[in-house]
Amino acid sequence: MKLPKTIPGRCEQGTFLAGIPRAGALRAGTLRAGALRAAVLLAAIVLAAFPAHSQAGDAPDGPAILLASTTSTENSGLFAHILPRFREDSGILVRVIALGTGQAIRLGMRGDADVLLVHHRPSEDRFMAEGHGAERRDVMYNDFVIAGPRHDPAGIRGMKDAAVALLKVARAGAEFVSRGDDSGTHKAELRLWEEGGLDPVKSSGKWYRETGSGMGATLNTAAAMGAYLLADRGTWLSFKNRKDLDLLVEGDPRMFNPYGVLVVNPARHPHVKSVEARVFMEWITGPRGREAISSFRLEGRQVFYPAAK
């Protein structure tokens, strides 16, 4: 960008404003070169320095793919642990967008991501059945937990049946905070309510509070309110603002939380980087990826377990 030679009005003003009485105020012909020129220069510098890789294409030093995933995996720090290893092995940079599972899947349907790592099997199967995905594989699993205020007004601490525990929370009229955002965790929570035979959404706005937000925001809300909630163990363990919340219910097999990896179908979306996406799928389900997932620790505990072969 060059400095503009003729700023509008610049050349003319000297002449046509010369005789104006208040010329002191109006003598724009001089332009007080400083301010405007400096502003243009600044804009030029900033625009010129824009990162060369400002396209969502490849990284400056190799190919890059876009992974749409869930807040639970990103917030826990799992990706920070495994993705550098993948890059070392493959030379491929993985860029992560953390959303709810529902949103991540819609991103894949629109062809805005190359590969998905999500956790809601029925949605994943629909994605495949409708032809949006080229391939799906099991990756890993962990589990959901029910957390709530330490003094536990509903008295569910240590229960083994999650559905009954939720019913007890409802009967006690204790506040429960739901994701309410169509995420994998939200869907898992709704299924537990369904098994207990109670529709909490009818009480939405009363004791049942839907935040419509990610896991972290919902945990912040529950911590501030002293409410119960369902959370994935990874986010729960990595969350730093638990305040008065305690882990109360765990270990119900229905709180099993499996993650799948899905490669977006290049036949449907020709621009997706399906070759690199497939390399990622092979790696994360292969020995190197399984080892990386197993070695991730939070507070000294393993959080994610590779899927059975």
């Binding site: 320095a49 396209q55 860029r95 730093k240």
Partner: protein, 234 residues
């Protein structure tokens, strides 16, 4: 209180360590917002000026519309730009979604009405003051717009800074069209949102303090520049 003190300590530590990830985020934040304001102002200043001086049918409606658009909700703009740039959208082929460029586009849309609407007011006021002189000199309206823009540049620099304030502080639009991708589209506001969701409240607030500091330094620099140019040219 303890958390607040912790946040200030965190902000200080962040500055002192000069963490390279943080510097990257600060740099991208500045690039995106300054680019957006530069591009938006380039169009909005002349348009606002023209709107002040020219009369045409529908002018009043346009002014009301522009004034209202100053309150455009960032999330809505984000969604709009997302749908435009998504692969399924009309501009999907450009492949701009989840890039800094997409963030500039979104912020541009947010900043444009602010700069245009306020410029219109500034220039209209100046026109009331100098209009007669300009007319008596036979200056065309177009030339008058240019002159008044130049004459009002001190007031207009504040207008542009208001646009910058909007751009650098908003999170809704850049989160949707940028995706908060580490080392690519993560800016100060989306980083703050991320740390909040991790429950790292002190760190989030510390970043917030830094963001305010960033805004203060830009405004301070603009103020000094103004003083300097005023002093140089009397």
């Amino acid at each position: 209180m303890n958390e607040l003190a912790q946040a200030f300590k965190m902000a200080l530590a962040l500055i002192l360590t000069g963490d390279s990830d943080l510097l990257e985020i600060v740099w991208l934040t500045m690039q995106v917002s300054i680019s957006a304001v530069a591009v938006a102002s380039l169009a909005a200043l002349p348009l606002g000026g023209a709107l002040a001086l020219f009369s045409f049918p529908g002018r009043r409606t346009l002014i009301i519309l522009l004034n209202s658009l100053m309150g455009l909700p960032p999330v809505v703009v984000g969604l709009l730009v997302y749908l435009l740039l998504s692969r399924q959208g009309p501009l999907g082929e450009w492949g701009l979604l989840f890039t800094p460029t997409a963030m500039v586009i979104a912020q541009c849309i947010l900043v444009f009405p602010i700069v245009a609407a306020l410029t219109r007011q500034v220039v209209e006021d100046l026109w009331g003051e100098y209009g007669e002189q300009l007319r008596s000199l036979g200056a065309s309206r177009l030339r008058s717009v240019a002159t008044l823009l130049l004459e009002g540049r001190f007031a207009l620099s504040t207008v542009v800074l208001a646009g910058f304030g909007r751009a650098i502080a908003e999170v809704g639009a850049v989160l949707i069209v940028g995706g908060n991708i580490a080392h690519l589209t993560r800016v100060m506001t989306t980083a703050i949102a991320l740390e909040t969701s991790r429950g790292e409240l002190s760190l989030a607030l510390g970043l917030g303090i830094l963001l305010i500091g960033l805004s203060v330094s830009v405004n301070g620099a603009a103020y000094l520049l103004r003083e300097y140019s005023g002093w140089r040219h009397g």
